[in-house]
Each structure stands twice: as C-alpha cells, then as structure tokens.
C-alpha cells in the first residue's frame, strides 16, 4: 500500500510503531498532490515547506513519546477555515490575498495534536454552491470522472480525500456542503449538530446553518476527527456546552434494537435518479438484515425546504457579507474617488455572480415591505420542518435517505440555472434548517461507475447513532475500499 492511501487510523498506528515518520508520510502526500493536482484541481494553496516543518515537529513529538490520534497526519482544510499566516481565500477574488492573523478554534485543536496542514482546498465562493463551479479561483474535477463536478461547496476537500491528496480533511456544511460532495466523491462526510463544533474562525456564510465537519476515507476516521474538533468554545456564542463522548467507542455496537425511519416524501421526490434510489433501497435492506427495525416516517414539509432555505441562507449571507467593504481586509478598487463608489466597485469586482445573486435575494427578502412575506414566512416554515423531524424521531432512532437526487452531474450542466442547482440540495438542507446531524456514507455506484452516498440523520447531539449505523453498514460492504483511477487520467473532455 502506498503511504498516501493510508487512513488516519492506519497512519497513526504506523507512526506510533515508528514504522514510518510523519515527514515520509507528508512527503508522500505532497508528491501525490504534485502528480494528480492538474487533473483534480482540489487545492487553492499547498504550502509544502510549512507542511514539512509541521511534520518535523510531529516527528520530534513522537520521538518523545507524545502521540495523539492526529499527530503527524497530513490534512486538508477547506479554504474558509482561518489559518494563521496561511492565505484563506474563500475561493473569492475579494479575499484572494487575505492572510488571517489568527487560527480558527478547530485549527488550534488540530495544531495542539501536532497535525500537519498540507493545504487549503477549493470550494464554491463563500460556500455558495453545490458543484464547485462557483469558485472564483479554479475548477475542481471529480476524481471518478473528470468531466463531472465533485459536488460542493466542500468539493475540494472531498476530491482531495477521494484522490488520496490528503489523509483526511475538514469542510463546512450550510445546506449539504459536506455530505453532498462526500457522496459524489465516494468518501464519508459528517455535518455535526449545530453548536457541536466551534465556528470561531470559520468565515461566515449563513450563521444559523453553518457547521464545520470532517470528510474522511472511512467512518472510523470521521469519528477520530470529530473527537478532536468537537466541544464547547467560549469564542463562539452558539457553541453548546455539552460533553463530547468518545465517538470511536460507538463504532463497535451492533444494530439490534435500533429503528431506522424511511421518509415517504423522499422516495417521491422529483428528479430522484433510479440508480440512487436503488442503491439507497439496497442499503436500507442491508441495515435491516443486520438487525435494525424499519418504519415509515413522514416529513410532510420536505417539499418546502428548498424554498425556505433559499430565503434564510441568502438573508443571513447578505448581512454577513456586508463586512467586505474594501477597508479592513481583502480587495479594494483603489481607483474610486468617493466612499460609495469604492464600496460598490470593490464588492462588484470582488464577488462572483452567484454570491451577488444571493446577496440581492437576501437583501430583497429582508427589505421593508418584503420581510414578512419572505424572511418571516421562511422562518415559520423552518419551525414546521423542525416539528416534522421531532415527530418522526418519536418512532425511529435515525432517518435514512439519499444524499443527492443524482450522482455527480456534468461540469457546466446546471451552472446557468441556479434554481435547478438549488433543487439538488433537497435531501440535505432540512438537516441544517433543523440543526440536526447528518452523515454521508458510500452505499453504491451508478451504472456509470459514479459513487452514491447514503444519508443518515439523527436528533440533536446523537452523532453516536450516526456513527454506529454508518460503521456497521460500512463494515458489511466494500464501497469505501474502491478508489478512483487517476494513474492514467482520461484526457480532459471539458
């Protein structure tokens, strides 16, 4: 096995036994990035020098007997997680040269364990998108088929993880931005409960929906990363002071006694691809065979989730993105003489079209005369969506569903049709509106060989149940062991 193919757990064991060094492992990952980056395009910034310096520190710690689960492990971070001294762009021209003066809380936690940060991964600008095509910096290709999107907005993290260009990664999820690219790239991705992981140092998109989470090669690695990044942080006023269990302990239990719920509304969803539907049905059957009970549940407001989300998220975004004014940081159009002209020109040149569309929709929804009809109404529908989940979880432990209605679509297919793109978030964004956790775990391949993910959702702070179901399912299948073939990349058909 090549070193870059290792999981976090396996790499940790080899580092602990001193069979490999972090510098060897980091070098292998950097070489892998050099070899395949031109075909995948997963990274905005790779800092080999810094990564190797961190690896050297990790090796020193290990030689002293100080080893934690992430010590010396090369990781990728989505480029909206602030890293002190390392450029953080949000894939936006407006932050193209932004170098944060501080680390996000999650980064501090990784550094405390002497993890290695190999680079910052590509994304849709300010995390607004489901395909990475809205990146203002570059295009990321799906490692399984380079003519297709990797998903978004954490598409760079998902593609880097799938293509072994890192050992594991972090992304952020506002409406499916971890789970959907994880599904499209055949890796595991978790959106934790809102408030579980500190958002301090995560560049804000929609503050009541955003949550940082892991994208990893398997479920065990996801639990290992969650153990490190979870927990209360006084710097984030929405962080929840709840104890964090050891998630790896929930990986061994069987599924007997558990009840899984299947939402009626999801199988009837418009545009659900046959291959996706079949793969999810087979996964449900498998989970039942392993001893879980199965009930039908109803989430009657599902059909309104997309509309509610695309009012709430842009509203919050329009407010959050007001801070990019060309004064404190980021790009500024220096040719403008008046303050107002400077603001307008800076923001119009700095933000890409999707970000501008959402700022306009959000500003419109919040403006006098429209507030009640849009933001107010959407916030009420959000309550109904939360009630739906509460009722459903009375009869089941977890809910199973597809992650995305189709496998990864073609680059360019939906980019000019924002509404169609938005509708592809139908299965994931309800979890953000309700603040509940969700995980995507590989559950099959389409007839074209594209990965398909199974989504598992649970009540607030019941990540352990997600890990339990995901792990048992993963161990009974081998979808997570398959890897995209990048050794002989296809000619670029785009």
């Amino acid at each position: 096995m090549k070193l870059y193919e290792l999981t976090i757990k396996k790499a940790h064991l080899l580092l602990k036994k001193k069979e490999i060094s972090s510098q060897e492992l980091t070098r292998a990952v950097l070489d892998r990035i050099d070899a395949v980056e031109e075909h995948v395009g997963a990274y905005i910034t790779v800092d080999s020098e810094m990564a190797l310096a961190q690896a050297k520190i990790a090796d020193k710690e290990i030689s002293r007997g100080n080893i934690s689960p992430l010590t010396g492990i090369p990781l990728a971070l989505k480029d909206l997680i602030c890293t002190k001294g390392l450029r953080t762009t949000c894939a936006s021209r407006i932050l193209e040269n932004f170098v944060p003066p501080y680390d996000a809380t999650v980064v501090k936690k990784l550094k405390k364990q002497a993890a290695v940060i190999v680079g910052k991964s590509n994304m849709d600008e300010f995390a607004m998108g489901s395909s990475n095509e809205h990146s203002g910096i570059k295009l990321t290709h799906n490692p399984w088929d380079q003519t297709r999107i990797p998903g978004g907005s954490s598409g760079g993290s998902a593609a880097a993880t799938a293509a072994d260009m890192c050992i594991g990664s972090l992304g952020s999820d506002t409406g499916g931005s971890i789970r959907q690219p994880a599904s499209h790239c055949g890796v595991v991705g978790m959106k934790p409960t809102y408030g579980r992981v500190s958002r301090f140092g995560l560049v804000a998109f929609a503050s009541s929906l955003d949550q940082i989470g892991p994208l990893t090669k398997d479920v065990t690695d996801c639990a290992i990363l969650m153990n490190v990044i979870s927990g209360y942080d006084s710097s984030d006023s929405t962080s929840v002071p709840e104890d964090v269990p050891d998630y790896t302990l929930s990986l061994n239990d069987g599924l007997k006694g558990m009840v899984v719920g299947i939402p009626n509304e999801y199988s009837a969803a418009e545009g659900l691809d046959r291959d996706v539907s079949d793969a999810v049905k087979k996964a449900v059957k498998k989970i039942q065979e392993m001893g879980a009970g199965c009930v039908e549940v109803s989430l009657p407001h599902t059909e309104h989730a997309v509309a509610a989300y695309y009012v709430i998220a842009p509203s919050e975004a329009s407010s959050n993105l007001a801070r990019y004014d060309g004064v404190k940081y980021g790009y500024r159009d220096k040719n403008k003489k008046s303050l107002m002209e400077m603001y307008k020109s800076t923001r119009s040149r700095g933000f890409g079209p999707e970000v501008q569309r959402r700022i306009i929709i959000g500003t419109y929804s919040l403006s006098a005369g429209y507030y009640d009809a849009y933001y107010g109404k959407a916030s009420q529908v959000r309550t109904l969506i939360i009630e739906d989940f509460k009722k459903a979880f009375k009869s089941c432990d977890v809910i199973l569903s597809p992650v995305a209605p189709t496998p990864a679509f073609k680059i360019g297919e939906k980019v000019d049709d924002p509404l169609t793109m938005y509708l592809s978030d139908i299965f994931t964004l309800s979890a953000n509106l309700a603040g509940i956790p969700g995980i995507s775990v590989p559950c099959g391949f389409s007839s074209k060989g594209l990965p398909i993910g199974l989504q598992i959702m649970a009540k607030h702070f019941e990540e352990e149940k997600l890990f339990k179901v995901a792990y048992n399912f993963e161990q009974a299948t081998d979808f997570h062991k398959k890897k995209p073939n990048l050794d002989k990349p296809e000619p670029n058909k785009v």
Partner: protein, 96 residues
C-alpha cells in the same frame, strides 16, 4: 416578471453592488425565477406558527467580563488594502 430590472438595480444599490450592465437582464430573470419558486411557501399555512431563527435552544451566552489579550494594531491592519500610521485609509467622506 416577478422582479423588474429596476427593482434589481435598486436592491443591488442597497447592498452596495454595482451590477454589470451586461449581466442585469440575465440576473433579473434568474432572480425572478427563484423568487417565483420561493412564493410556493404561500401554500403553507403558517398561522400561529412561531418563526425559528436558531435551531438549537440556547438563550444568551455570557462569559466572565475578564480582561483578555486582543490583537495588536499591526495584526489588525495586516490585511488592510490601504493604511497609514496605524489607521485604515478610506476615500474622503466629508467635503470641505
């Protein structure tokens, strides 16, 4: 048309955006389609439903009012596009 070109320009101005003249028709059409879709929310009966702005039941988060280390001015200014003597530079705001 759900939203006119003029309305888009008005809202863009409120949001301090200068929408590209070439893009405005496309923008107005796309935003119109999205807003029309959002109008499907009117089919939902929300009488007496309390709106949710935050999905986790946390109320106010307080911390002790202790003195803490904050950023020095060099770090705060480190990303400023224009700065001078420890200050951010902005275009002239008040006309003499």
């Amino acid at each position: 048309m759900k939203i006119t070109k003029e309305e888009v320009l008005h809202v863009a101005n409120l949001a301090r955006l200068d929408v590209d003249k070439v893009l405005i028709d496309k923008f107005a059409a796309q935003i119109g389609t999205i807003l029309e879709y959002v109008d499907t929310l009117n089919r939902v009966d929300t009488k007496e439903v309390t709106p949710t702005s935050h999905a986790i039941f946390l109320t106010n988060a307080f911390r002790d009012d202790d003195e803490r280390q904050s950023f020095d001015s060099d770090s705060v200014l480190s990303n400023a596009p224009e700065k001078e003597d420890g200050n951010f530079i902005v275009p002239k705001v008040i006309n003499s």
